[in-house]
Symmetry: C2
Subunit: 224 residues, 2 copies
Amino acid sequence: MNADPSPPTRRYDYVADGAEIYRRSFGMVREQADLSAVPADLRVVVTRIVHACGDVDIVPAVAASSDVVTAARHALRSGAAVFTDSVMLASGVTARRMPAHNEVLCTLRDARVPALAKQWHTTRAAAAVSLWDERLDGAVVAIGNAPTALFHLLEVVMDGGPRPAAIVGMPVGFIGSAESKVALAEHVLPGGGQIPWITVHGHRGGSAMASAAVNALATESELA
Amino acid sequence: MNADPSPPTRRYDYVADGAEIYRRSFGMVREQADLSAVPADLRVVVTRIVHACGDVDIVPAVAASSDVVTAARHALRSGAAVFTDSVMLASGVTARRMPAHNEVLCTLRDARVPALAKQWHTTRAAAAVSLWDERLDGAVVAIGNAPTALFHLLEVVMDGGPRPAAIVGMPVGFIGSAESKVALAEHVLPGGGQIPWITVHGHRGGSAMASAAVNALATESELA
């Protein structure tokens, strides 16, 4: 390995200051995206989702319960863990934005997962959700990949299992994704009410949008 | 932790067989996406990119040099390393699809990066590219986050530095992203020719699309 690397000759004209890129990026999002229908406390979250996917047309697909920002932010400040359905999503959660050194956990690679998935006739992503067990209570959940994980989570909750503080439900794809997000938006807890939630309706979603939402829920500041 | 977890009551009607979800997903992509203008050897790559972002409208934005599939696949089979600009992208590369236990490396968190970025007046993502040094020669590069990393990489190559076997250049965002991808598509090496490349033009892109492209370039099979 080169002990003393040197930079190449600058040949292109581009902004190379990280903070300036952030400022201009979020400025562009605000300029190009119509956030007028987005509740005030959700705007920073929607801005970061747009920033993560590079497409202002995603805005109308974002939907959320009215209490999700307050609930998720309070939970994270109180030290809640973040559970994710994929390692990729977990690695997109920015540690320095977490207000209480919150743990970010993914159980997909737990050694018990393959056998449980087989035994339960479900996906590994869904089986992994059941390994969150009682730690799920009061946690923030982010799902960016597997619709089956979101369905399974809702089933755990409807069964009277532990209740997360908030659900970021943004699985991507063509099979079950849109349906799982409708199920999230329409779920009713035993006894009434909902777990606070945010989603991106339709086929789109993914780890980048879901981690962007978690990062924005964790810290209001854009620049971090 | 619960030593003997049990599954919740199934309340929703959804496909819960992983292999079946894959099959149906790729079937939906082929059904809904117009791949008629996509070269035959690139179709599996474009299919996986659509699958990763959940949006068939991305297809016309994908562009590539005619030799990128052959070049990247040959390099990976020969044991080439994969360099990425973000940890998130690295964690999206599926180890079991890599044909030669290929290393997947990201130098963004190298301890030297912050000082080099400051000294060179550039971003940490760009400075991290220079730490790939001679290992870049013959490697496959995937950029899904930082336009500055892609510009910097092109500048390294134009300076007569080490040449990667192929570049997956899909940074996302509103500042420099589209321009960096045009620079990739139009670059000319000293002495002529290009590094084989693939991109998604415009603001869209990201770790999910870039890792999907690497996974498809690594293994032709859809189901893995």
